[in-house]
């Protein structure tokens, strides 16, 4: 009786203290979330539960790294099974004779083994494999947590092994599941051999096991919210409230005052929740092009820096103290923030659906409001404002590319067209890309497509202005375009530029513009499949680079591949492709910024990735910015004779057989036999 009384008292004390601490902490965090900005995440319930299933139960993103996926699955599922043990163990003490039955009991032991394997795998990974993605994570905390989990499963086996003796000698109840706890049962053999089966020895042994199990469980509960492992509780809700709006939509609602993030109150409650969900796994860091380039940015560290600052301010009661360093430029440095290409690889990789890019863009907005912006990017912002393009060219020059080709190009502002073409800045104004733009016009003409453009009424779509944090300018540009688009009459709309595509498709919704905007790869695929454009296979072996704003942010990965197939291109994939593509480094305004600090340009890394593929001599792109980025890399690396950057439009022109397109030029590259398959 004394043993039970004592254990009950200690259990109640543990529950009260740890739950108290746990709830107090959660409440503090909850208070911060309450003061934060709103975010609508209560809609699409069906989809949310489905996503819980795929990402929690099936661990879909976790399994992208098989080793970590497996070990995490073992430990994660152990937590579910741990509940059985907790219920059973507390039941045994509080309600003499309580069992969970012969079916559930052995599950505990099975999972003890799985969790143990998981711990060993985790230790092996952290001590021997040492993936770079852990760089910067709190490894001590990881060991502490693994140690606690180890203690719990050891405790389980120990108290199970003494329970049969305690049941018989002290509680005077039957233990029908004794053998079901096969690990404990096996261990009890040892106690028998040692003769530790009497009431005293059994009580001591049981108490030790009980405390190692429940004592640590409740200590864990109290400690969790202060450690990175709050993710055990936060991950599931965070996945539940993930963003289900269009991926490429950075700002869901028109903004009245400012998108700047200066204090924790400027984050949304979901942003705060994100901070406590991060597991420090570093998957985001591993895919970040800025990090890979040697720049000071790691998306993981952005989250951790914010979280640590928030924890510190909670501890000192200074969360709302305006004299604390600003989040932008203080907690997260300006250099980190401006290094981001907004490629979204981090968000795509994060197993718990943390949203890095909106935070980065919001903090950029704060920097921008204080005038802290790269000088070259500033020039571009001014050009957008004055001329509507990033090239600082007169608005009238926007359609200059259309002058020297004998293809009639309709003015969609004046007459109805079937296809409206939103050309985009780079396609319209970069001298290197203009040639491709002209090809596209000729291809459309060749296909007999009735198409038109908006001439100087088209301005930059504003995708990058928004991502630089210049919401007001984005809105101005968007309104100008929407005005022109609303005046035009068209049945389909497409664009050559993935960045424009993203803005038109995802960011203009909030201003009431809804249209099925297509990328030119989709448009040409449609034309070919409708029989409007006859193509001959070009017979090349090539690799294809998915632009971030096409593949990752808009999920358009299939159309370009099907188009390549129609064109008779033998596609060899780079290791990173589709939604896992690797950014060229141009996005988020980076293309205009100073390159100081870049040790290894992402575009060069990407070219090396392609060069490593066997028999690939062509690097196919479907984004005007990629044309400049990758051609420059090929030039800088001096590999012009090994790899050639070609735009989808060039392949189309050859396949269609446009007269005087340098077909021979493509086919004879690089002047050696064997590349035509």
């Amino acid at each position: 009786m004394a043993l039970r009384g004592w254990l009950m008292a200690i259990t109640v004390a543990l529950i009260v203290v740890s739950l108290g601490l746990f709830l107090r902490r959660l409440n503090t965090i909850f208070q911060v979330m309450r003061k934060a900005r709103p975010a609508r995440r209560g809609d699409h319930l069906g989809e949310r539960f489905k996503s819980l299933f795929t990402n929690v139960v099936l661990h879909r993103r976790m399994f992208r790294i098989t080793y970590s996926g497996v070990l995490h699955y073992f430990i994660f599922s152990g937590f579910v099974v741990l509940l059985i043990d907790i219920v059973e163990t507390i039941g045994e003490v509080f309600f003499p004779g309580f069992t969970v039955g012969r079916i559930l009991a052995p599950l505990v032991d099975i999972w003890v083994i799985l969790v143990a394997i998981g711990i060993v795998l985790a230790l092996y990974q952290r001590i021997i494999i040492r993936p770079a993605r852990f760089h910067g994570s709190d490894e001590k905390d990881a060991y502490l947590i693994l140690g606690m989990i180890g203690a719990i499963i050891t405790g389980i086996v120990i108290h199970d092994s003494f329970y049969p003796f305690v049941a018989r000698e002290v509680f005077h109840v039957a233990d029908p599941v004794a053998r079901s706890h096969f690990l404990g049962y096996a261990l009890s053999g040892l106690w028998r051999a040692l003769g530790w089966t009497g009431p005293r020895a059994a009580s001591i042994g049981y108490t030790v096991g009980y405390l190692m199990d429940l004592g640590v469980v409740f200590a864990f509960l109290a400690y969790l919210p202060y450690s990175k492992h709050l993710h055990i509780f936060a991950a599931v809700p965070n996945i539940f409230v993930r963003n289900l709006g269009p991926k490429g939509e950075l700002v869901p609602q028109p903004i009245e005052d400012s998108m700047a993030i200066r204090t924790f109150q400027d984050l949304t409650w979901k942003d705060i929740h994100d901070l406590y969900t991060c597991t420090e796994c570093g998957r985001c860091q591993a895919v970040c092009p800025a990090y890979a380039a040697g720049q000071p940015l790691s998306p993981k560290m952005v989250i951790l820096e914010l979280r640590d600052a928030l924890n510190e301010r909670i501890a000192w009661g200074t969360v709302n103290d305006p004299t604390q360093p600003a989040l932008a430029g203080g907690v997260v440095s300006a250099a980190e923030l401006w290094a981001c290409t907004t490629c979204g690889a981090c968000q795509e990789a994060c197993p718990v659906f943390i949203e890095h890019v909106p935070k980065i863009a919001g903090m950029r907005a704060a920097l921008l409001e204080d005038g802290n912006v790269d000088a070259n990017a500033q020039k571009v912002l001014v050009s957008w404002d004055r001329q509507g393009n990033s090239f600082g060219q007169a608005a009238r020059k926007r359609s200059a590319w259309a002058k020297n080709i004998d293809v009639p190009i309709k003015d969609a502002r004046k007459e109805a067209v079937d296809w409206l073409w939103f050309v985009g800045d780079f396609a319209a104004l970069d001298p290197r890309v203009q040639r491709l733009t002209q090809l596209i016009a000729r291809l459309l003409h060749h296909a007999g497509v009735d198409f038109g453009i908006l001439f100087e009424s088209e301005v930059n779509a504003g995708n990058e202005a928004l991502r630089l944090g210049e919401y007001g300018l984005f809105e101005t540009l968007a309104q100008k375009n929407i005005k022109a688009l609303n005046q035009a009459q068209y049945r389909h709309i497409f664009t050559t530029d993935p960045h424009s595509l993203n803005a038109l498709k995802n960011e203009y919704r909030k201003f009431g513009f809804h249209a099925e905007v297509m990328h030119y790869t989709e448009a040409f695929l449609t034309l070919i499949d409708r029989g409007q454009l006859a193509v001959e296979p070009v017979g090349l072996t090539a690799t294809y680079h998915d632009p971030c704003y096409l593949g990752r942010w808009n999920g358009i990965t299939e159309a370009p591949r099907q188009l390549l197939q129609r064109l008779g291109v033998n596609l060899v994939e780079m290791p990173r492709h589709g939604a896992q593509s690797f950014c060229c480094g141009a996005g988020g305004g980076r293309i205009w910024m100073d390159e100081t600090g870049i040790e290894d340009r992402p575009a060069n890394q990407r070219i090396r990735e392609a060069l490593a593929l066997p028999d690939v001599r062509f690097f196919v792109v479907a984004c005007p910015k990629d044309v400049s980025m990758f051609s420059a890399s090929v030039t800088a690396m001096g590999v012009e004779d090994r790899l050639r950057v070609v735009d989808m439009a060039e392949l189309l022109a050859v396949a269609v057989g446009l007269p005087d397109v340098a077909e021979s030029d493509l086919r004879s590259f690089p002047n050696e036999a064997g590349i035509l398959s």
Binding site: N376, F391, P431, R432, W592, E595, S628, A632, T635
Partner: protein, 317 residues
């Protein structure tokens, strides 16, 4: 009292080329209209320098206060002298001094002002000035009013090389509360700021090997310029990023941009297309750099650089 007054600048003890040009045209106009020319100059070297100038009269101001250019003292002195000796036409070069004093003199004397002049001529009964405006994109033809201050862009026309024997007088410097605290000589040490250089010798991938940069350095020395480059040269680690011209580097507007072995990619052009004078050398006659250059040559830069250096050094003596 002279009709046309040239405000002269003296450097290293002699009248500058720009002042020689002013004197030349002043004399041409004076001859056509039977007028007289005076030159006014400051500093202890002034007397020796203007003694043989092609002017009828030379006024020299010698005073400790005018040894270094001081806008206050110069302006006060000029205003006093010109008030006592009203002139029809006052010519200054469009240098710092011209930019500084031109309009102020016009305001103090309550006469007209014409800036950025590139030509002064007589056409029938009128006297005309041609001026460069809108960053050189437009020219304006202006009638010279009865009295005016004109600032002339150096190098607009050739100096005649004529000399004369002016009557030399002295005039006292007038006081001003403005003082020259210190003179800062050009800084030769440290890394150069390519945005401030008048002449850039800019190299691209055509340089081929880092050892060849020495040729560019020597040329830059000889020409009195600074070496800049395209991005691949920085990528290769041959020159620091501070020397990169272009979109992701510096935007430059030198008086002369000598592009050597640079193809002229749009990102590069963005950083240098507004240079006053662009000379490109590239073995590929179709290189886009020639679309923005004023002069071009298809020579091999590795041969050209030493040849040009030698020619320049030979000339400098």
């Amino acid at each position: 009292m002279a009709d046309i007054v040239v405000v002269g600048e003296i450097q290293n003890g002699v009248v500058t080329d720009a002042t020689q040009e002013l004197l030349t045209r002043a004399r041409d106009l004076a001859t056509a209209r039977s007028r007289s020319v005076a030159v006014l100059a400051f500093g202890k070297d002034a007397e020796a320098a203007v003694k043989t100038a092609d002017a009828d009269e030379a006024v020299v101001v010698v005073d400790q206060a005018v040894e270094e250019y001081n806008p206050g003292v110069y302006e006060a002195t000029l205003v006093t002298w010109l008030t006592e000796n009203p002139a029809l036409l006052i010519l200054l070069s469009n240098t710092t001094m011209g930019m500084d004093l031109g309009a102020a003199l016009a305001a103090r004397l309550q006469i007209a002002m014409i800036a950025y002049c590139t030509d002064l001529r007589i056409e029938g009964s009128s006297e005309l000035a041609t001026c460069q405006i809108y960053g050189g994109k437009l020219a304006a033809e202006v009638e010279l009013p009865d009295r005016a201050v004109v600032t002339v862009i150096p190098g607009s026309w050739a100096a005649s090389g004529r000399s004369g024997i002016p009557m030399v007088h002295r005039f006292n410097a007038q006081p001003s509360p403005i003082s020259v605290v210190k003179v800062i000589e050009p800084d030769a040490s440290g890394d150069v700021d390519i945005t401030r250089a008048d002449i850039l010798v800019s190299v691209g991938r055509g340089i081929q090997d880092p050892d060849n940069l020495e040729l560019a350095d020597e040329l830059a020395q000889a020409i009195g310029g600074v070496v800049s480059c395209s991005r691949p040269v920085v990528d290769a680690g041959w020159l620091p990023r501070s020397r990169q011209v272009g979109k992701s580097g510096q935007t430059v507007k030198p008086k002369l941009y000598l592009a050597l072995g640079i193809s002229g990619a749009p990102e590069h052009l963005q950083g240098m297309k507004d240079a006053e004078l662009i000379v490109a050398v590239n073995s590929d006659e179709n290189a886009p750099i020639f679309d923005v250059a004023h002069y071009g040559a298809t020579a091999d830069i590795l041969d050209l650089m030493p040849a040009l250096t030698e020619k320049l050094n030979g000339r400098n003596g």
